[in-house]
């Protein structure tokens, strides 16, 4: 995995308090109890801190899965191999 992919996985794992193995591309918002609207704010803050970006509200709302998070971070200049 590229370093940014690992950072992404670690970010999700930390923010949602789930094992890294559970952080797959299809892990989606509200699909697990740990990822609800409240945890979503913690997740956004965690990813913004790790990648040094500040997402706009549209992207915060649209960040509905791990795969989508990667796409959105790409718009802010974060590259994933």
């Amino acid at each position: 995995m590229s370093s940014n992919q690992q950072i992404l996985v670690e970010g999700f794992s930390t923010a949602l308090a789930i094992p890294q193995e559970q952080v797959t591309d299809d892990l989606a918002y509200n699909s697990i109890p740990q990822w609800d609207s409240i945890a979503h704010m913690t997740l956004v803050a965690e990813l913004e801190s790790r990648f040094d970006v500040m997402m706009d509200t549209d992207d915060i709302i649209d960040m509905s899965s791990v795969a989508r998070a990667r796409d959105i971070l790409g718009k802010y200049g974060v590259t994933f191999d």
Partner: protein, 191 residues
């Protein structure tokens, strides 16, 4: 008969618009409300007939103690919000306590951070424009998501009876709790 239809109130903020429900919305709202995915969280699971929906609509047009809005996000309807006075004899002209409620019918946004947006708009309106001193709500004990959601907004439990819990929100607790949520929903958009 002397019943006056209330002037419309449209609220905008935090990416959503709330506008008064109109006749053309009724069938869509009735379908939403009768959908088990929504009704399971309501205090009553009784199905609403078209006639009951129409009668309800005729009533809320003039009732000075309640108001009902359609929630729009990106110009699309996603749910319903409402407020009603808590204390008998009062109106929304100058309420002491207000009981807000909402549901998000669009499953893409239920449980999404966006679901906080209409609540923030309504709560701001109740405290800042109506001058309410407190907001109260009744939630099913089994509705853990709603209890967590409201706790995040600063609500405190005041009473528990059977399978229902009553919660209350003061302006001070709301201001402190809502600030970080408002920050997330107030960033500049790309559109």
């Amino acid at each position: 008969m002397g019943r006056v239809v209330k002037a419309p109130v449209t609220l905008n903020g935090y990416q959503v618009t709330l506008r008064d429900i109109v006749r053309e919305d009724l069938e869509m709202i009735r379908r939403w409300r009768n959908d088990p995915a929504t009704s399971q969280y309501m205090l009553s699971q009784d199905a609403i007939s078209p006639g009951q929906q129409q009668a309800w609509f005729e009533h809320i047009q003039w009732d000075p103690g309640q108001r009902h809005w359609l929630i729009l996000y990106r110009d699309k309807p996603i749910g319903v919000a409402n407020i009603r006075v808590f204390d008998e004899g009062e109106t929304l002209e100058r309420p002491t306590r207000v009981e807000p409620a909402l549901y998000i019918a669009d499953l893409r946004y239920r449980g999404n951070i966006l679901a906080f947006a209409p609540t923030l708009v309504v709560n701001d309106y109740c405290f800042e424009q109506l001058g309410a001193r407190e907001l109260q709500a009744t939630v099913k004990v089994s509705n853990e998501a709603a209890l967590r959601y409201n706790e995040k907004l600063g609500y405190r439990e005041i009473e528990r009876q059977g399978d229902l819990v009553r919660i209350a929100l003061s302006p001070r607790d709301y201001e402190a709790s809502a600030a970080p949520i408002k920050a997330f929903l107030s960033r500049a958009g790309r559109r």
